[in-house]
Symmetry: C2
Subunit: 162 residues, 2 copies
Amino acid sequence: MTVACVSRKTKPGARRKLVLDQFAPYRIVALGHAISGRLARAYRDENITIPEWRVLAVIGEANEVAARDVVKRTPMDKMTVSRAVASLEQKGFVKRAPHKDDRRVSMLSLAPEGQDVFDRIAELALAFEDDLMSTLEPEEAAAFRLALEKLEEKARLNGQVE
Amino acid sequence: MTVACVSRKTKPGARRKLVLDQFAPYRIVALGHAISGRLARAYRDENITIPEWRVLAVIGEANEVAARDVVKRTPMDKMTVSRAVASLEQKGFVKRAPHKDDRRVSMLSLAPEGQDVFDRIAELALAFEDDLMSTLEPEEAAAFRLALEKLEEKARLNGQVE
DNA sequence: CCAAGTTAGTAACATATGTTACTAATTTGA
DNA sequence: TCAAATTAGTAACATATGTTACTAACTTGG
């Protein structure tokens, strides 16, 4: 157990100036934006939006899920998911099957064409990840992933309150 | 001898399965989303949108800038900036002054009230950053910031192509 | 049972954001 | 010197996204 030493480099009471380039939350959001834009190319060629891709990915990972599970596993609200699913079904990428004993729920699965699309995008996405992360040494990358996890945990917890 | 089966060794092009929770780009975007949501509370109380806050921050940092400079320094396109500036001017937070010798350009600066708003939000934002980053040990935090920088560089460069 | 509450999903509306195309001002270069 | 290209900024349109509130299907507790 480590001692939570919240030391900062600045003196207590000294008012820091906010400088965007050194403001970590901003840097993280900006990086996310850049990444989204970069990945968007892979979706665009398949006529898939970002929410649609996320839905595809969750189904592709779990084989059969309900829409509510997609909501739990991604940063999208249920309306966004609902729209994405409707569009994917329309395109013939996703199938709905009635839930065994809850008629409100449909179970989602990939149609053959949806599986193909998923595979193609997944390949590009993984290649992008490799390329991106190759800028970091292996230990750096591992540390980065760990830090991401901790920060997300923290950000989500705080988000819970109100 | 015959080749029995597919090697499991990871090599370039080898097919991994895409698992969202282990897919770094997704984790980064998700963290960005969580952070945005968390910070939004500070803006909301001041009736400031995220693009408006970014504009305020850039002006607050540089004292006098043109809108185009805001575009260069943030992940927003010029229309988004234009709207944010218009709104901020309407609210009396930002002033426009004609550029010395280019009549297309207005120089933006903070009105006194804008400075107040900026100061209040900046204080909350810095406190949030402290809280967020306190989950990391000082060396972890430093490594994380460095990694962020490298990744952003890489993501932006790739974004250039095409 | 069955009234009250909860949950899954969607419709309808409001707002936000991106895209295209335009105006006006400036720069370029033949 | 002036036609063509570039740049700053905005308008108008299309699309995407969030919010509220609703329906239908379940669950619960008396």
